[in-house]
């Protein structure tokens, strides 16, 4: 018995060096998935991760991969913890025949840590709607993409929406708007934009921070009650959202004047508040629900074959849908790169080019079964954000419904701020601005 064991071990040792060679020949692109299925933010992390995995599975099952190149992925648990996220990245960045072709950090903290690593490891980062807003300026941050829109654009679009509801932006003068925000770099990200807009439109802005994790925020909402604002905008995450919504209901705040950002408007945020959450609104850059062809495809090719990552009935939750959109962007960037470099496993560098030349028209979205699900995107060397518009969705006690048209951000306000911040952040990292004209 022991001789057999020794023989098996010897074979394994001898075969060891040959294994990477076999692996290297695999016709696939590798995407590390930094997920948080456990820990305090798991309720938000699980639907996102499931959306990602289901879309990748769909592409492999239905299409046989991207132009014949299969998608491979491996999940690594970050618990939304920056240190663990960086460890995951280091462990997975070299996997697959060509290494990681795109990294989705799914945490602003992790994104900030990975930004300096991206050009070194040649692994592009897609921080879709989170991370460093300044990285929208592709001239300074060629390896980081945060389309379809960023926090600053979102804040300006929310103010535009509020203006519309009040009868015009000029009617904002004298109104009171409170920003209840997570007391973290993420939560504070929208503050400078809101302050600029408050000066521009003459509304009274109050910033109320809520400390992590935000389980007990009664005193914050007592201040809201004292201020008696016309509108409340919330940038929360995890438990902070559900508690905030409950507290707003408990002080009888008008829920249809309470708008969460796109990380504060998932089922897990409103369900615990019960009927109190009815009327609550949230920003988003994709539709909720399953009323799009892509979901029928996922049901047919993924869930009906028993390959779903989660529960079929969870399809349509805002954060599940976000995972779908994010995975689609990654897949389309790889496809764009293949159009340039050929249908073979892409490298991170090639996929970076793919991201920078990504154009998703309505026609392409229709082909993907996503027309109306999200907005067309056009990324460029200068603009890694695409300045996408937002939608406002509303909770009716059972489901989210879109209650607005696409709302454009105030690009004339946001873009100069992004460019100024990009210079500052870029210089911190020792970057120089590239000349996009030379790359066309």
């Amino acid at each position: 018995m022991s001789k057999i064991l020794i023989a098996v071990l010897a074979l394994a040792v001898m075969a060891g060096p040959a294994a990477p060679a076999v692996f290297a020949q695999a016709k696939e692109v590798f995407v590390p998935l930094l997920v948080y299925r456990t820990g305090p933010y798991a309720p938000s992390g699980i639907p996102i991760a499931n959306g990602f995995v289901d879309y990748f599975t769909l592409v492999n099952e239905r299409d046989g991969g991207i132009n014949g190149v299969k998608l491979a992925w491996e999940e690594c648990e970050t618990q939304y913890d920056t240190k663990q996220g960086v460890e995951c990245y280091e462990r997975l960045k070299g996997k697959g025949p060509t290494g990681a072709v795109v990294v989705n950090p799914y945490s602003t903290g992790i994104t900030y840590q990975l930004i300096p690593k991206a050009p070194v490891d040649k692994a592009p980062i897609l921080s879709m709607g989170y991370g460093m807003s300044a990285s929208s300026d592709g001239r300074w941050f060629p390896w980081v993409f945060n389309f379809p829109t960023n926090y600053w654009s979102q804040a300006s679009a929310v103010i535009r929406y509020i203006g519309t509801q009040e009868g015009g932006l000029d009617k904002l003068k004298g109104k009171k708007i409170v920003h209840v925000h997570h007391n973290s770099p993420y939560g504070k990200e929208a503050n400078p934009t809101l302050e600029t807009l408050a000066r521009q439109f003459g509304f009274e802005l109050t910033l109320l921070p809520v400390d992590h994790p935000g389980q007990e925020q009664k005193s914050t909402w007592l201040q809201v009650r004292r201020l008696n604002p016309d509108w409340v905008f919330m940038s929360g995450w995890g438990v902070m959202n559900q508690v905030g919504i409950k507290e707003a209901a408990s002080i009888n705040f008008k829920m249809d004047h309470f708008i969460g950002n796109w990380w504060s408007a998932n089922d897990s945020d409103v369900v615990p508040a019960g009927d109190g959450a009815k009327g609550y609104k949230g920003a988003t850059f994709h539709a909720p629900g399953t009323n799009f062809k892509v979901f029928q495809e996922i049901a047919k090719h993924v869930y009906d074959k028993g390959k779903g990552a989660g529960k079929k009935e969870s399809m349509g939750e805002p954060l599940y849908n976000r995972g779908i959109v994010n995975a689609m962007f990654a897949v389309e960037a790889v496809r764009t790169a293949m159009a340039q470099y050929g249908n073979k496993p892409m490298t991170g560098e090639q996929v970076r080019w793919g991201f920078e030349h990504l154009t998703l028209t309505d026609k392409r979205l229709e082909e993907l079964g996503m027309k109306g699900f999200t907005h067309p995107v056009k990324v460029s060397c200068e603009d890694h954000e695409s300045s996408g518009p937002i939608l406002v969705q509303q909770w009716d006690g059972k489901k989210w419904s879109v209650v607005s048209d696409w709302i454009q951000p105030m690009r004339e306000v946001v873009r100069p701020k992004i460019e100024a911040a990009a210079v500052e952040e870029g210089k911190k990292l020792g970057y120089t601005m590239r000349d996009c004209a030379k790359e066309k």
């Binding site: 992390g45 699980i46 389980q215 409950k246």
Partner: protein
């Protein structure tokens, strides 16, 4: 709203939340009082209890009363089982062994909860209105009143138990000196198990009250963090101390959030109770009502 009305609101909220903290702290005090062990998994006990109640309520469609009874039974069984399977083996070992065991247990429970019942937030709805009571400038959510009443009732009940009942007195004897208690014919192991089971009861009630306030998910365990300043301020082995400590922590964090946070950009609410805790450890390490231990060295 006038300033005094705002202050009154902060105070009333601090008192009600403080009483709910006291309920969680009571579980901690019960174990310490009876076994001299420090339970770092108190918040996780509350979380598991919340999960169990919600599982009966939502998955098995049981009525609320039955779900709560099942939650109580499950937590009593859990307390007994834990004592028998893990903690009994640590009797006679250094205190750090129990501390490390409960820290490990906390991590395990934080994993087991979402693994077993899912990570999504469950709504534990009690049959009470969400409409706050309005008393002049005060407005008080009914759930906080329920939480405060449950807390006071159980604090009074356990206070009586330790002071007047035969079992309670025996438990105190065990906490004072296991060896002497054994010599007096007290079955120390049985009282250890009883203490952990009682903690299970308190945790179950905490799970219902806090779960209905915050929703039930892994975050529920975080209420356990508030226990430490509460019990250090009030005294590790004192039931009245749990009440007073809870009230102090509740009021201090509300006043800090209401009056200090707006000037410093937030952050004081959570650390203010810990500043008090450190001061208490420096000035009166056994707490306001804690037993002062004098040892010959």
């Amino acid at each position: 709203m006038l300033d005094w009305q705002f202050s009154l609101l902060l105070l009333s909220n601090g008192v009600l939340i403080g009483l709910m903290y006291a309920l969680i702290a009571l579980g901690f005090v019960l174990v310490y009082k009876a076994t001299d062990a420090i339970n770092f998994a108190q918040g996780e006990f509350v979380m598991i209890a919340g999960f169990v109640v919600v599982a009966f309520l939502l998955s098995y469609k049981a009525p609320l009363w039955l779900s709560v009874v099942c939650g109580l039974a499950a937590m009593i069984a859990f307390g007994f089982g834990l004592e028998r399977a893990v903690l009994r083996k640590l009797i006679g070992r250094p205190v750090i062994a129990v501390v490390m065991a409960t820290i490990g247990l906390a991590a395990v429970l934080r994993g087991i909860g979402p693994l077993t019942w899912g990570a999504d937030t469950k709504n534990l709805a009690l049959p009470i209105s969400d409409e706050p009571f309005v008393l002049g400038p005060l407005f008080i959510p009914p759930i906080q009143i329920v939480g405060a009443v449950v807390s006071l009732a159980f604090l009074a009940g356990f206070g009586w138990f330790f002071l007047k009942s035969r079992k309670g007195i025996a438990m105190r004897a065990v906490a004072d000196s296991q060896q002497v208690a054994m010599a007096m014919g007290i079955n120390v192991e049985r009282y250890f198990a009883l203490a952990w089971a009682m903690t299970g009861v308190v945790s179950a009630l905490g799970g219902v009250v806090w779960g209905s306030l915050l929703g039930v998910d892994v975050h529920l365990a975080l209420v356990g963090f508030k226990v430490f300043p509460v019990v250090i301020l009030g005294g590790l082995d004192s039931i009245p101390g749990a009440i007073v400590g809870g009230l102090i922590v509740g009021i201090v964090e509300n006043v800090a959030a209401g009056y200090v946070d707006p000037y410093v950009g937030g952050g004081t609410k959570d650390f203010a109770p810990y500043v008090l805790m450190i001061l208490a450890l420096m000035i009166r390490p056994y707490g306001i009502f804690g037993k002062r231990i004098i040892e010959r060295i």
